[in-house]
Amino acid sequence: MSTASPPLDAAPRGARLSLPRIPLGTAATALLLLVLFVVDLNVQPGLWDLDQLGMLVQTALPLVFVAAAQTLALLVRGIDLSVGGVFAIANTMTAVWVGADGGWPMLVVVLLAGLAAGAVNGLLISYLSFQPFIATLGTWTAYSGIALMILSTDGGMVPTVLSDMLYQSWLGIPSSFWIVLIAFLLWRILRASRFGHQLLAVGDDEERARLNGTPVRRVRLIVYALAGACAAAGGIMLAGVTSTGSPTSGDAYILLSISAVVIGGTSLAGGRGGFGLSLMGVFSLTLISDIVTGANLDVWVSVAASALLLLAMVTIRALADRRTARSAA
C-alpha cells in the first residue's frame, strides 16, 4: 500500500508545482506583447486587416525558426552561434541547388543538410567535450564559408512552390499563421514526448539526469541536430520571403535569436523556458521595429528599444529570482 501511494501523490504535486510558475513569467511577457500590439495597431491601422497582419508575421518567420533553434540549445544549457552559418547554407542551397523548378523533396534535403550541420555541432560538444560557445563559434565560420562556396553574392532563383505557399491563404487565414501554428504544435509534441522530458532533464540538472539513466550525450547530440534543422528552416523561409539567396543573410540572426529567446523568458541557465515563450519574444521584437517604421522614427530608436527591452526583461527576472532565492533561504 505504501508503495502504491507515492506515484499517486507525485502526479498532482508535479502539476501543482508547474502551474503557478509558468503563468507568472508567461503573463508578463504576454502582457508586453499585447501592449506592443495595441500600440502598433494605433500606429499602423492597416493591421486590422488579417492579410496585412499575415505579412507582418511573414517577415518574422525566419527569426521564428532561428529562435526555435536557439531555444533548443539554451534549454540544454548551451548556445548555438552556428545558426547564422546553417541558415546561410540552407538559404543559398534553396536559391541555387533547389532552384525555381525545385519541389518539396529537395527542400526536405535542405532541411536534412541543416540537421547534419547541427549534428556536427552536437558531436563536437557531446563527444569531444567542446564548450558549446567555442564549438559553434568555429563551425559558424566554417559553415559561412560553405554558404559562400554555394553562392558568392546575392542572387539565385527560389522555388516557386515555396514563394507561392508563403503568399497563399488557407481557410481565409494567411499561410504564415499556419506555419507558426504548425511549428508550435511540433514543439508541443516534442515537449510531451519522452525525448522532451529528457531534454529538460539534461538542461535542468545534467548530473541527476545522468544518474537517472538519461543518455545525456545522445540527447545533446539530437538537440543540436534539431537546432540545425530549425536554423535551416529559417534560411528556407527567408529565401521564400525575399525570393532570393544571400550567403551573408544568417549572421544578423545569431544575436537577434538570443535576444528574442531571452526576452521570451527561456533561461540561459538551462532547463527553463520553451518555444512558446520564444515566439512571444520574436513577435515583441517584430512589433517594435514595425512600430518604429510606422511612426516614421529613425532606425536607431528601434535598435535602442530592443536593447532596452532585453535589459529590462532580464533585470526584472534576475531581481525576481533573487527574491525567490532569498525567501527560500
Partner: protein, 336 residues
C-alpha cells in the same frame, strides 16, 4: 598550483608553436612571406586583434564574456572622428574616446556584477545601445576630414623598422603579463574566474574585479577602434564586426578556458598572431574567400582542441613518471 601554472605555459607555448609552424609553412611556400614589409603588416594587423582581445582576455579569465567589443571598436573610430571634427586636438580626442570606452565597459560591469545579469546578455544589450547611439549620430560628412592625423600616425608610424603599434602592443603585453602573473590584482582575477563563491569567501571584492575587467575591455576595444580607424583612414558602423569572432578566437586559441580562471595574455598574443598569419597565408594557397573561411573555422577548432586536450595530455605525461598519484589530473581532464 605549480601543476596549474605548468599547464598554462604548455598551452601558451603550443599556441606560439602553432603560429611558428604556420609562418614556416607560408615562408617555405613563398619566400616573400618573411619579408620585412609583410612581417610589419602582419604585426600591425595582429595588434588590432591584440588590443581588441586585451580586455576580452581579462574578462574571460574572470569568468565573463564581452560581446560588445565590435561596437566599442566602431564607437572608438566614429566618436573620435566626431570629436576631432568639433575641433579637439587629436591626442586629447583619443584619450577621451578611450576614457569613454572605459565608462561604457564600466556599465557592462555594473550589469554583470551588481544586477547579476548573464555577461552574454548584458554585453549583447550594450552592443545594441552603442549601435543605436552611433546610428543616432547620423552619417559622417564624407571626405578625409574624419579621422584625425594623430590616429593615422599611431597606426602607421615606425620606430626604425618596427611599427609604433607593435612596440606599444609589446609594452602593454609585458605590463599586463606582469600584472596578471605577479600582482595581487592578477591573482584576484584568476580566483574570481575559477570560483567566484570561493573568491568571495576568501575576502575578495568580486564585484570590483568584474567592474575593472569590463572597464579595461571597454578601454582597450575603443583604443583598438581608434588605431583601426587610423589605419583604414575612415570609419563606418561595421568596422568592428570581424572582431567579435577574432577577439574571442584569439583568447581561446591562446589556451584560455572560456569558463574562466585559466589562461594568459601571452596566450592571447600568440592567438592574435596565429589568426593573422593564418588569414594572410591561406590566399597564398589559392583558396577562395569561401574556402578560407572553412579552413579558418576548422583550424580554430583544431587549435582549441590542441591547446586544451594537448595541454592536458602533456601535463599528464609529465606527471606520470614523477608521482604515482595520477588520479587527480585524470579526473580533471574527464570533467569538462
Amino acid at each position: 598550483m605549480r601543476r596549474l601554472r605548468g599547464h598554462v605555459s604548455v598551452s601558451t607555448a603550443s599556441a606560439f608553436g602553432l603560429c611558428a609552424v604556420l609562418f614556416l609553412i607560408a615562408t617555405i611556400h613563398s619566400s616573400g612571406f618573411a619579408s620585412g614589409g609583410n612581417v610589419r603588416q602582419l604585426l600591425v594587423f595582429s595588434a588590432f586583434i591584440g588590443f581588441a582581445a586585451l580586455g576580452q582576455t581579462v574578462v574571460v579569465l574572470s569568468g565573463g564574456l564581452d560581446l560588445s567589443v565590435p561596437w566599442l571598436m566602431a564607437f572608438g573610430g566614429i566618436q573620435l572622428s566626431h570629436w576631432a571634427g568639433d575641433g579637439l586636438p587629436g591626442g586629447v580626442a583619443i584619450a577621451l574616446v578611450v576614457l569613454a570606452g572605459a565608462l561604457i565597459g564600466l556599465v557592462n560591469g555594473i550589469g554583470v556584477a551588481w544586477l547579476r545579469l548573464p555577461p552574454i546578455i548584458m554585453t549583447l544589450a550594450m552592443g545594441g545601445l552603442i549601435q543605436a547611439y552611433l546610428l543616432s549620430l547620423g552619417v559622417l560628412n564624407s571626405g578625409d576630414s574624419g579621422v584625425p592625423h594623430a590616429a593615422e600616425a599611431a597606426a602607421s608610424d615606425r620606430i626604425g623598422p618596427v611599427p609604433v603599434v607593435a612596440v606599444v602592443w609589446l609594452v602593454v603585453a609585458v605590463a599586463i603579463g606582469i600584472v596578471l602573473a605577479r600582482s595581487a590584482a592578477g591573482r584576484r582575477v584568476y580566483a574570481v574566474g575559477a570560483n567566484d563563491e570561493v573568491a568571495r569567501l576568501s575576502g575578495i571584492d568580486v564585484g570590483r574585479v568584474r567592474l575593472a575587467a569590463y572597464a579595461l575591455s571597454g578601454a582597450s576595444a575603443a583604443f583598438a577602434g581608434v588605431i583601426l580607424a587610423g589605419y583604414v583612414g575612415s570609419t563606418y558602423l561595421d568596422i568592428g564586426a570581424p572582431y567579435l569572432f577574432a577577439s574571442i578566437a584569439a583568447v581561446i586559441v591562446g589556451g584560455a578556458s572560456i569558463m574562466g580562471g585559466r589562461g594568459t595574455y601571452w596566450g592571447t598574443v600568440a592567438g592574435a598572431l596565429t589568426l593573422t598569419v593564418l588569414s594572410a597565408m591561406l590566399p597564398l594557397f589559392h583558396l577562395s574567400d569561401a574556402g578560407l573561411k572553412v579552413v579558418y573555422g576548422v583550424v580554430i577548432l583544431a587549435g582549441v582542441w590542441l591547446s586544451q586536450s594537448g595541454g592536458a595530455l602533456v601535463a599528464r605525461l609529465r606527471q606520470r613518471p614523477s608521482s604515482p598519484t595520477t588520479a587527480s589530473p585524470e579526473v580533471k581532464s574527464v570533467e569538462p
